[in-house]
Symmetry: C2
Subunit: 263 residues, 2 copies
DNA sequence: ATCGCGGCTTGACGTGGATCAACGCGCGCG
DNA sequence: CGCGCGCGTTGATCCACGTCAAGCCGCGAT
């Protein structure tokens, strides 16, 4: 697939990186809102907004939910589409992104287990979302969800809290995109991934990267080549070790923090 | 004052642009929480979260508020400081920013009349804030504000709404910072300012820029020089007219939208 | 008046990262 | 098995924007 051209608006036919063919296949749905109580055994609940709801009222939540499985690359939110559903990721990782008309892409974030998605301001989605690898999620119709918000004030409070958290990350990312060098961006990214991973119980020095170099590039406002060279240089400088393309080991965390711009 | 060096981490002594001398003079306070009902006559209320509260309960809000006047350049939030207050801007404009240790600055947004500030996630502020010109605001102690949130659910809902709005803007800004050219950034910025201005009742083609070129540069992830050259080129291309440095007239809005990357 | 200063513009030049191109590797598939 | 393809790496070259420098303007202070 053609590499997009971040700095040129006059490229011939710049296709978006996400392959359109695999992007919007029908999603495999498991309509299990009625059976048992899936929410009670959901292993994403502990890290999600759902745990704002007490055990004995979980069935109210479960009744509104539908779970689904997505294949790698499959899209489930299209920017500009009517915002009909809310989503909660139960396993896997999604990329959230915005596109320019000529195909340039900015990934605004990665969403993992427990991440709540689709809280649109207006009635259309402000960004697109695609599964990076195999992914599962549960899904709520907008109207049911709004009803649940009325019913559970704690849920609304959790949502406000997560919105503010995301706002803080977004501001951090603006600093990165506006003012950091390629090396600083990559180092910051690795440190953030390490922190996110260790919060999920991984070893603190071991980083798993489910996304491709193109995803990383579009997240950091760089090109694939610059990301690749950046990894190579960090390795040659002894800051990291590369165990294949998708696994990074931090060898010198102090130096990496230093290379990240030291915040 | 020395221009900061976005692309070099080894600059000798890069001072932050905000002059430290004027930044944290004591703020002029008007302790009027007791007198009359300032909130009822506040001309920022209609555009602020405050209007989520009914007229007859405004005194509850007013009792917690203290108004203050700030001089140009004066800071009122320092990144990393304990988050003791919430702020509501009643006139003027503030810049919100994050700094790197070497002085590089990223302005994450501009806050005008009605903008609500200081909703920190943790107990410290995640960004700094300074008045651009003369500014007035009202201020709430954190504890009182949290009490008000409990009392007025509509206030909390408005806050969630504004947080989501800001998140959408932040994502838009990430797209700008990560993937747009200097010309596109500047055009997008002018269009956004025009929209913000016309929402406040200004003529749709007339843009007032209260901030300096340095502010614009730090907001768009560029340098002063590039911003200045960008303005000059947009003028020479007939898209805008410059009436002094702080006033821009849009001469060809379609072309400007085109130059902005066409979203 | 004139001096200093901060903000803005403009020109000349340097460079970080984009672009273009080639190649290697792993993997699914005919 | 070997072919094609997607992904990652690396090298050569280019260019948009950063850096450095000079000069202008408006304004407030002496």
């Amino acid at each position: 697939m053609a590499q997009t051209s971040p700095m040129r608006a006059d490229v011939a036919m710049p296709t978006a990186r996400a392959s359109a063919t695999t992007s919007f296949r029908p999603i495999v749905i498991h309509p299990d809102g009625a059976l048992g109580d899936p929410c009670a055994h959901c292993d994403a609940r502990s890290v999600s907004v759902c745990n704002a709801i007490e055990d004995d009222r979980l069935p109210r939540l479960a009744a509104a939910a539908v779970t689904a499985t997505l294949a790698p690359g499959q899209g489930f939110i299209a920017e500009g589409d009517p915002a009909t559903h809310f989503f909660n990721i139960t396993s896997g990782t999604a990329r959230l992104f915005k596109l320019l008309p000529d195909g340039r892409r900015q990934i605004t974030g990665f969403a993992g287990r427990g991440h709540f998605l689709g809280l649109a301001v207006s009635d259309t989605y402000a960004f697109g979302a695609e599964a990076i690898g195999p992914m599962t999620m549960c899904r709520f119709p907008r109207s049911r969800m709004l009803g649940l918000l009325d019913e559970f004030r704690a849920l609304e409070q959790r949502l406000l809290e997560t919105a503010r958290n995301e706002l803080v990350s977004a501001q951090e990312q603006m600093l990165l995109l506006g003012r950091k060098t390629a090396r600083e961006r990559l180092s910051s990214f690795l440190l953030a991934q390490a922190r996110a991973g260790s919060a999920c119980g991984h070893a603190a020095h071991q980083i798993d990267l489910p996304m491709t170099r193109a995803d990383i590039a579009d997240y950091l406002g760089l090109t694939i080549e610059t990301v690749s060279r950046g990894f190579t240089r960090l390795r040659n400088d002894g800051l990291i070790r590369l165990d294949g393309a998708n696994s990074v080991h931090i060898r010198n965390i102090a130096a990496l923090e230093d290379a990240a711009g030291g915040v």
